[in-house]
Symmetry: C2
C-alpha cells in the first residue's frame, strides 16, 4: 500500500508533464486567425515593431531587436503571414505576425534604404547605400539569391541605390543616386538576373515611384528640376523628361525634408504630388504628364495619400509644421478638414477599403485612428515614438 | 494487488482520454497559416466548395452541404479567414477557410442571385429574386440586421433584385429588375437603413457593376439599348443614360447567355465590356462614357477580365464556343493568344498581383493554372464540375 500511491503519483506527474507539453500548442492554437487585417507599427527609437489588427483596432504583440529602424519600411508575404522589415542599418528582418516573433534576421549591408517583394512573392530585394547596390533574397530562408552591385562610370565606383520597387513580370526597378541611372532587373531566372540600364536620366535622382498598375516608373531629381519617366510597357522608348517646373524652383527654397515619392498618389487620372520645398500639392495629369493644378496647403507636404476610393487625399507635413494633417476633397480640390492629431505626424496608412486611417504621432507616443467619412477620431493606441505603419494588404499590391 | 493495477489502468485511461482531447487542438495548430493566398472553387453540381491556396497551388480541403450552387458567388471577411457563399437557392453559407468547415448556414430566401460585404466588413447583403429584395446580415453571426423588400409601383408588387454591390461610406447599391430602379442603401446606422431610390432608369436592367474605386454604378438593360450610369459622388445629378448603341442592337441577335457585368473590367481609363449578343469586346472611354473601339473575338464574351496590371484582358465565351479563352494585349488591342483550356470554361480568377490566372473547365473536371506572362499552363488541379473561382484578396477590394 505504500508503493502503489507513489507509482500513481509518478503516473500523475508524467501526466501533468505531458499536459503542459500539449498546453503550449494549445496556446498557439488560440492564435489561429486570419491575417488579412494585420499590420505593423514601427517604433524606431527602440528598434521594435508592434503587431496590430484593424478589425477591432488592437495591439496583438511586440517584436524587439530589429536594430536601427529610422526610415524603416516593410513588405508582406503573399499569404500575409510574414512581414519583411528593412532597417536603416542594413538589417532585413522577417517577422511571423501570427506567432508574434522574429523568424530570421540578416545584416545584408551597412546602410539600407528600403525594399520590395517580387510579383510571385518568392524574392525579397533590398536597396543599399553602402555598399551601393541591390541584394535579392529567398523570401522563405533569406538566403542570398543575387547580388547586384551598382557600378557606374569607368572608375569602379558604386552608387547609392534608391527608389526600389517591384514591377510585373518578376522585375525590380531602381535608381542610382550618384550615377543618375535607372536599372530594370528581370528575375524570372533568379540565378541569371537580366539587367537593362538607362543612363543620363538627370542629376541626383532622390527617390522613385511606380504607378499602382506597375506601368510607369518615375524618378524625382534633386540636382535639377523635372522628373524622369520610364514606361515599363515600352522600355525601348527610353527615359522621357517630364514636369520641367517640378523641383526646388529658381529660388532654391530650403527643403526641410525630401518628400517621399512613395507618398505620391493616383486618384483616377490624376497624380497628387508633394511640391518640393513649397507649401503646395501639385496635380499632374497622368495621361499628358503635365501639371494640372496646385493646391495651397499648410506646409511642405511629405506624404500625399489617396483614400482607396480616390475621393479624398490626406497630407502630412515636414518639420516644423508636422503637427497637422489636411484632407483634400478630390473633385472640388478643396481642403475640407485640418486636423491636429498630435506632435510629429510621421506616417499614415489607410485600411484596405479606406474606412479608416491610422496616423502615427511620434512625439505624442500614440497612433490615432480616424474614421475617414466623418474625419473624426475613433480610437487611440499607445506606441513608443511610432513612425511607419504598414498593413498586410500591401501583399496584394503591385509596386510596394 | 488486484485492485491497484485497475486503479492505475483507470488513471491511464483518463490520461489517454485527456491526451486525445488535447491532440485535437494540436492538429488544429498545424493549420496555423496566413490567409492572404487562400481561395475557393465552387463545385456546383454537388453543392461543395474546394479550399485552395495559390502559393503552392494546392487543394487544402473541401466543404460540403452548400445546396444549389449554380451561379454562386462569394465574398470574404476583412481578415480573409471566412468566405461567405451565396447560393442560387437562397442559402448563405459562412465557411472557415482555416478549419476547412462550415461555420453557419442560413436559408435567407427562396431564390438568390448574389451578395456583397460592407466596407467595414461587418455586414453581409444578399440580393433576392423570391421574395424580391435585399437582406442584410451580421457578418459574425449571420443574424438578420435589416430586411429591405423591393416594393415598387402602387400595387404592392416586389421586384427581383440584381446587381448588388458595396460602395464606400458603408453603402450597398442594387437594381430592381422588374421596376427599372436603382436603390442606394446607407447602412451607417444598421437599425435605420437610409434608402435613396432612382426610378425610370430603363427597361429590364439585368445586372450592375461598380468601378474599382466605387464611384460609378452602371446597370445594363435587357429591355432596350443603352445603360444607366449613376455617379455615387454626385447622386443628386441622378441617372444618366450612356452608350445608346450598347445592347442587343436592331437585329435582336440571339443571346445565348447574358454577360456578367461583374466581368467588365477597367484598364486605365478604358472599360473593356462584353458586347451583348455579338462576337465583340467593346472599349469604352471611362471619361466620356463613349465607345472607343471594338475588338472582334471568338464568340459571345462572358467574362472580360483585366490582369491586375491592366496590360492584358482575358476573355471567355458563351456556349457553344465555351472551350476557348482569348488574351487581348491592351495597348495594341490585338488578340495575342487563343487558348483551348478544356470543355466549358466557366470562370477565371487572377492571383492578386496577376502572375497567374486560374481557369475552371467544368466539363473537363479541372482547374487549370496559367502563367500570364508566358500564357502557358503551369499546373492542373482536379475539381468536380468547377464553376466560380474566388480568392481571399477580394476582401480588400471595393465593390465585390
Amino acid at each position: 500500500m505504500n508503493k502503489e500511491p507513489l507509482s500513481i503519483r509518478r503516473i500523475l506527474g508524467g501526466f501533468f508533464l505531458l499536459l503542459a507539453m500539449f498546453l503550449s500548442p494549445v496556446a498557439q492554437a488560440q492564435t489561429l486567425r486570419g491575417t488579412g487585417d494585420l499590420g505593423i507599427v514601427i517604433e524606431r527609437v527602440t528598434g521594435e515593431v508592434l503587431i496590430v489588427e484593424t478589425t477591432h483596432q488592437t495591439i496583438l504583440g511586440k517584436v524587439s531587436g530589429l536594430g536601427d529602424l529610422s526610415h524603416a519600411t516593410a513588405v508582406f508575404s503573399r499569404d500575409e503571414r510574414y512581414a519583411y522589415v528593412f532597417g536603416r542599418d542594413g538589417g532585413l528582418t522577417k517577422i511571423d505576425l501570427l506567432k508574434g516573433k522574429m523568424v530570421k534576421r540578416v545584416m545584408q549591408s551597412g546602410n539600407s534604404i528600403g525594399g520590395a517583394i517580387s510579383q510571385d512573392g518568392r524574392l525579397i530585394a533590398a536597396s543599399n547605400y553602402t555598399p551601393g547596390g541591390v541584394k535579392i533574397f529567398d523570401a522563405d530562408t533569406l538566403a542570398l539569391v543575387a547580388d547586384i552591385p551598382a557600378f557606374y562610370g569607368n572608375k569602379g565606383k558604386r552608387s547609392k541605390v534608391i527608389g526600389l520597387v517591384d514591377a510585373p513580370g518578376q522585375r525590380f526597378v531602381f535608381t542610382l543616386y550618384d550615377a543618375g541611372e535607372i536599372w530594370i532587373t528581370d528575375m524570372r531566372h533568379p540565378a541569371k538576373p537580366k539587367i537593362i540600364k538607362f543612363k543620363n536620366i538627370g542629376r541626383l535622382p532622390y527617390d522613385g515611384l511606380i504607378t499602382p498598375n506597375g506601368r510607369y516608373y518615375i524618378a524625382g531629381l534633386f540636382g535639377e528640376d523635372g522628373m524622369a519617366l520610364l514606361d515599363l510597357w515600352h522600355p525601348d522608348a527610353g527615359i522621357k523628361r517630364i514636369l520641367p517646373h517640378y523641383g526646388r524652383g529658381e529660388k532654391k527654397m530650403p527643403v526641410y525634408k525630401m518628400p517621399h515619392l512613395e507618398g505620391w498618389t493616383k486618384a483616377g487620372n490624376q497624380l497628387f504630388v508633394p511640391a518640393v520645398g513649397h507649401h503646395e500639392v501639385l496635380i499632374i495629369n497622368a495621361n499628358t504628364w503635365r501639371e494640372a493644378g496646385r493646391i495651397a496647403v499648410h506646409g511642405q507636404p511629405i506624404f500625399v495619400m489617396a483614400r482607396p476610393d480616390d475621393r479624398q487625399v490626406w497630407v502630412n507635413f515636414a518639420h516644423p509644421l508636422n503637427d497637422t494633417v489636411q484632407v483634400i476633397d478630390v473633385p472640388s480640390r478643396k481642403i475640407i478638414k485640418t486636423l491636429k492629431p498630435g506632435k510629429a505626424i510621421l506616417h499614415m496608412a489607410f485600411t484596405p477599403r479606406g474606412e479608416q486611417i491610422w496616423i502615427s504621432a511620434r512625439d505624442s507616443n500614440r497612433v490615432d485612428i480616424y474614421d475617414t467619412a466623418s474625419m473624426t477620431l475613433v480610437k487611440t493606441l499607445p506606441a513608443h515614438a511610432p513612425s511607419g505603419i504598414f498593413f498586410s494588404a500591401r501583399a496584394h499590391k503591385i509596386g510596394l
